[in-house]
Symmetry: C2
Subunit: 348 residues, 2 copies
């Protein structure tokens, strides 16, 4: 009999095939045959094995395969936040793709902080993962050094190659945001405010802002520093930014926002100031999450291929792990979606 | 030199402390001392170790500890969907709590299908996790048998004990929904429609619907089968349900919805029918996610303690894993939040 201490140290030992064999009174080879090729085993034997499997809660242990192939059958993903549906849903698509291959997903969130991402990266690698999905391309050289030194397959979502040799699965944020700015100009707006996400350490926010400002400038609409507010991607920050942008004398007739959450916040801020959307103010978003069509009027926005990026990341990472060769990067298009929140400015 | 085949089979071998020692030209004991008590090592030695650590991408390997303690330093979580911010944010709180202890989070989504949850449960257990977080109490006896046979600590979130001996960390869905119904009645509504989530296999949806119908019945408002629609928790289903409930002759003056997503969908449906909220129709939600204050008018709803449930699940599971003893269950209150979407019915 084992001592108490020993028992306490092993409370969660997984039942093994030996345990099943012992309980069923058969050999481990018979257990294995009974599970893998049941029609080659007599019914009584099969039943005995089945009962033992259920009683012990035994499941064929992938752990053994891990040791054999040096694989953990785990993919890690580090996303900025689960609070925004856009990442949560991409993560879900990734997980569903991996589940088809019995690969499980480890998840961490970095709160948009590159240094936190790096800590999580080290933890995941120390723990052992077969591959890693990250958001965006902007991070320290050290983070990339860690990844390449470990030779771990990794995919960068939401961005395009940008001269990096890595596997990217994304879309052109600059171009998509430029398209929004172009449409806003087409409707006749000239006094325009921008509510951007924080651009530090975030290549997607930087690219969107660049797309907006360069398009406006090319049309002769030059934004002053007071016309652009950078803030966190929350309703509250979007609302506060809108109130600030709309409080001046020569207030904007359109607000271009870095994502749908900021745009929904901006709409709330505008409503509180008694402004009518789109009669008094046009507002645009980015992402096309549920929120975009839940608000009224519905948001003009950009449809980000979040599910496709999540699913493709799973497929390409598994392909890389299997073949040992880095697959081709993927670039999706992000579609402009016109809805009622964008209209011509009222004359005056 | 290794053969190609050998190299191919081991592309992702984690660098070991021996590799670092070899490269730095010191003993493994010196590497260990250099990492753990750097002030006890000469600067040149420390630098040499540092260079080797960086070059190899070495991180102190938790794997060794896993074997020693039979722990995987992993907690699994199976939630219905990441599409709804309420679960995603709870998951994030859980992950942040676990990260403080260098425990990582494995994630799977069941799409509200108990049989899919059971498959994921088996996969996670086969893979090896120290504990598991699940949503709700309603699942097959077999699923509970698997969990208890394995002696894996597990926590059930979002529900209260309900006579089960398991660790639950939740709130009283029946009571919270009953409170919403009571407030709707107080405002003078008598013609009331209910848009519920699917109740099959979902104890939370069942409890909320029970809380609503029993409160209404106690006040003499008896719902017919045509007054209650069960649907999936999506904007589209909420909208379709509202259109159906509002299309009859004696249409409801209030719609009580199973969550905020359904309520936002119902508001959209009402708007399309030309109804004004709350003048023509009151709408209530449940959860108090961002969506609730992004829509206009803002939703009367119930604030679900999602972050606290996520964080507490992490704490209690780690406590259980450490002590070997199942901790006490936790019951939080869910607060009624009054906002502009609820008002008296217009006379007529």
């Amino acid at each position: 009999m084992k001592s108490d201490t020993e028992a306490k140290n092993r409370p969660y030992r997984l039942p093994t095939i030996e345990d099943v064999a012992r309980l069923a009174g058969v050999s481990t080879a018979t257990v294995s045959r009974s599970l893998n090729t049941p029609d080659r085993v007599r019914e009584e034997t099969r039943n005995a094995v089945e009962v033992a499997v259920k009683a012990l809660g035994y499941t064929p242990n992938f752990g053994g395969q891990v040791l054999a192939s040096r694989r953990t059958n785990t993919i890690g993903a580090i996303i900025p936040t689960m609070g925004n549906a856009i990442f949560a849903t991409a993560l879900q698509a990734l997980q569903e793709t991996l589940a088809l291959r019995k690969v499980t997903l480890l998840v961490a969130t970095s709160q948009y902080a590159p240094e936190q991402e790096q800590v999580q990266l080290r933890t995941m690698l120390a723990r052992g993962v077969d591959g890693i999905a990250l958001i965006g391309t902007e991070r320290s050289a050290e983070a990339y050094d860690i990844l390449t030194a470990r030779q771990v397959p990794f995919a960068l979502l939401w961005s395009i190659p940008d001269e990096l040799p890595y596997l990217t699965i994304g879309f052109d944020n600059t171009r998509a945001a430029a398209e929004v700015a172009r449409r806003v100009l087409e409707f006749g707006h000239r006094r325009i405010g921008v509510i951007s996400g924080m651009t530090d350490g975030n290549d997607r926010a930087t690219a969107r802002l660049r797309g907006i400002t360069s398009t406006l400038e090319a049309a002769g609409v030059v934004l002053g520093p007071e016309d652009v507010i950078r803030c966190h991607y929350t309703l509250e920050d979007g609302e506060a930014a809108a109130r600030r942008l709309l409080s001046g004398a020569d207030r904007p007739t359109a607000l271009i926002c870095g994502n749908d959450v900021l745009a929904a916040g901006a709409m709330r801020g505008a409503r509180h100031l008694g402004l009518n959307i789109p009669a008094d103010l046009s507002v645009t978003g980015f992402d096309d999450i549920d929120l975009a069509t839940a608000v009224s009027p519905a948001l003009t926005t950009v449809r980000v291929p979040h599910k496709r990026m999540g699913a493709s990341a799973g497929e390409r990472l598994l392909e890389w792990i299997d073949s040992g060769h880095q697959p081709q990067s993927l670039s999706y298009s992000a579609e402009f979606v016109f809805r009622d929140s964008l209209a011509p400015p009222s004359s005056g």
